[in-house]
């Protein structure tokens, strides 16, 4: 049997044909970039530049004192023309630095600077990654330097090459086209973590990638390239860990609790760039696809390029889309404005026609249990959605709402077309608020 997670999962139409075989392209630098100060999990950065400043490519333009943050760098050279709240693909509006490109695309002083990663020690590697502002490309945008300094013993590093989201293909292309960097990156990460075992988990609907990487890692025996069963959400990190190692992360736990660290393909490549050449995280791979995009492509994009420009580069819309999504169709966020910028976490731009994304009208749950069968986390999504719609927050907690990874498998499979994930996200927010309120109350009481 193929490696996979045991419970749940669904098989949505993968839609990868649109961009699967499109070689990565790099469009010209845009006239202007909008760089939001919040592109990572953690505290937002504060701009270190002001209107009128001239900045160069790779120059630090935002940072924070908080432990959990990732520095932000200019993605091209030019003049800062605005520091103000601007549209953002994840949070409607966010403080951003707008740079009018001067077209020279000059590197900041001393960049790029070559290093031989083999001579660096762990601390130096981490410092380089931190300086480059690398965050996870898999979606959660967790600062990579934090992830690579776990405070529990770990023994396994896993590269998540599942790319289980339908339509998206940038990880796939990266695995084929940038396998050298991947090989280096994996070794860097393993060195930084001090682990001896590595896995690369790839869904078996990408046989070329499996083949290619098996070849590439021939000389790195401690790394195993694993073909996993094609089943959404194979790429969710808990599922990936189970598929690779058979270990299960307990509810509320982190991968390091079972001795693992999981990183996305793109992250590893970015780490290679950061460590070997000192290049900050200023561009990323993004898939632009969907049945409404004239020419679907895999692109290497500067952070701050707007969706509109990217779509235009791909020939614009072939038909009027019903939805434009940042990310994949299962977990991505639908956009209503196209002047939002590409951020560090933007793995895809998806334009779908009404036929492809019929969500249907929500009806009462008929308790068919399909969602229960589909949930990889062993929850009862139908009950959660009902409790949440009745605002029974304690019940939600009792039924483990916090364990939901919002993968959307339940919603995908529900014949009643219930927006379970939306209910759950609301419930999570409310439960957290209640918890916080209780905490505050307890603290106040303790003070008394």
């Amino acid at each position: 049997m193929l490696n996979t997670f045991k419970r749940g999962g669904v098989h949505p139409d993968d839609g990868k044909i649109y961009a699967k075989d499109k070689v990565i392209e790099t469009p010209a630098v845009p006239d202007q970039v909008v760089i939001p100060m919040s592109q990572h999990f953690g505290a937002p950065c504060t701009p270190t530049v002001k209107v009128g400043d001239h900045v160069k490519k790779g120059q630090l333009i935002g940072t924070s004192d908080a432990f959990l943050h990732a520095d932000i760098h200019a993605s091209t050279s030019g003049d800062v023309i605005k520091v103000a709240p601007m549209p953002h693909n994840m949070m409607v509006k966010c403080m951003a630095v707008v740079i009018k490109a001067d077209g020279l695309d000059e590197w900041a002083d001393g960049l790029p600077e070559e290093h031989d990663w083999k001579t660096l020690d762990t601390k130096e590697i981490i410092e380089l990654i931190k300086k480059a502002g690398v965050v996870g490309c898999g979606g959660a945008t967790f600062p990579a330097h934090v992830k690579l300094t776990p405070n529990k013993p770990v023994d396994t590093f896993i590269v998540n090459g599942a790319e289980c989201e339908p339509y998206l293909t940038c990880d796939y292309r990266a695995m084929i086209e940038e396998s050298d960097k991947l090989v280096t990156g994996v070794q860097i990460c393993m060195k930084a973590l001090g682990v001896k075992k590595g896995f690369i988990g790839i869904e078996d609907n990408k046989p070329e990638a499996v083949q290619h990487l098996t070849e590439a890692f021939k000389n790195v025996p401690e790394v195993t390239v694993l073909a996993c069963k094609t089943k959404y959400p194979q790429g969710a990190e808990k599922m990936m860990i189970e598929a690779c190692t058979g270990r299960q992360v307990e509810p509320g736990g982190l991968p390091m609790n079972v001795g693992c660290v999981v990183s996305n393909v793109g992250t590893v490549i970015a780490i290679t760039d950061a460590v070997c050449q000192g290049i900050p995280f200023i561009e990323r791979l993004t898939t632009v696809t969907g049945d409404c995009i004239k020419e679907p492509k895999n692109l290497r994009l500067r952070i701050g390029t707007t969706f509109q420009e990217v779509i235009d580069y791909c020939g614009g819309f072939s038909q009027q889309p019903d939805r434009v999504i940042a990310g994949g169709p299962m977990m991505g966020l639908a956009q209503y404005q196209l002047d939002v910028p590409i951020t560090k976490g933007a793995s895809g731009i998806l334009a779908l026609s009404p036929e492809k994304c019929q969500v249907g009208e929500e009806e009462p749950c008929i308790r068919c249990g399909r969602c229960v069968d589909a949930c990889p986390m062993g929850l009862i999504p139908s009950q959660l959605s009902i409790f949440a719609s009745c605002q029974a927050w304690e019940k939600c907690t009792e039924y483990g709402v916090m364990n939901c990874v919002e993968c959307g498998s339940c919603v995908y499979t529900c014949p009643a077309k219930r927006n379970i994930v939306q209910y759950i996200r609301n419930a999570k927010a409310q439960c957290k608020a209640i918890q916080r309120a209780a905490q505050v109350k307890a603290e106040a009481q303790a003070k008394k």
């Binding site: 009462p364 009902i386 409790f387 009745c390 029974a392």
Partner: protein, 191 residues
């Protein structure tokens, strides 16, 4: 032996006190809003019925019958049970707060409830012997507990259902009880 078994099963399932004899409905509808409460209540009812039925049986057969005072049945039973339960409650409250919280709190609710009075009354009218009386009492109590727990779990689920406004609360509980008793009819004729 068999007849005791028959009597027991009959009291639990076939002639279930709530669903076919309509006794103890006030608590049945009052307490079935919450599953945990209903479990405590079921336990409390069973034990109180058992104890008070035994006491009432003794009182009836050793005091009332010899003096031809069977017409004092009702009043003496009710005073006996009310006092006994109150005594029990007072003692438990003092002696064991945990036990009190588990089922003591339900005691006063049932002290003057018709199921607790009717079991002894039915038992003496049917002229049960001591052991029969005991089996009957335990069976009736368990039957009540069963119906109560089923009902509570159903109602907890209905809390999240789109029940029409007018039917919310006790009315829909009655309808559910009707369906429960319809289902329990399946056991009829078994004995």
């Amino acid at each position: 032996m068999m007849e005791y078994f028959t009597l027991f099963v009959g009291a639990v399932l076939i002639n279930n006190f709530v669903l076919t004899k309509f006794l103890g409905l006030c608590i049945f509808f009052g307490v079935s809003k919450n599953l945990n409460a209903s479990i405590g209540m079921g336990f409390a009812v069973t034990s109180v019925i058992t104890m008070s039925t035994v006491l009432a049986w003794l009182l009836y057969n050793f005091v009332l019958v010899p003096f031809g005072l069977t017409f004092l049945r009702t009043i003496s039973f009710v005073v006996l049970i009310a006092s006994f339960v109150q005594l029990l409650e007072i003692i438990i409250k003092k002696q064991s707060p945990t036990l009190y919280n588990m089922w003591g709190i339900y005691l006063m609710l049932i002290a003057t409830n018709c199921i607790v009075l009717s079991v002894p009354v039915i038992s003496v009218t049917n002229e049960y012997g001591f052991l029969e009386n005991l089996v009957f009492a335990v069976g009736s109590g368990l039957g009540f507990a069963l119906a109560l727990i089923l009902m509570a779990s159903c109602r907890e689920k209905l809390d999240f259902a789109d029940v029409p406004h007018a039917l919310k609360g006790t009315p829909i509980a009655f309808i559910v009880a009707g369906m429960l008793s319809l289902a329990f009819l399946g056991f009829s004729g078994m004995i």
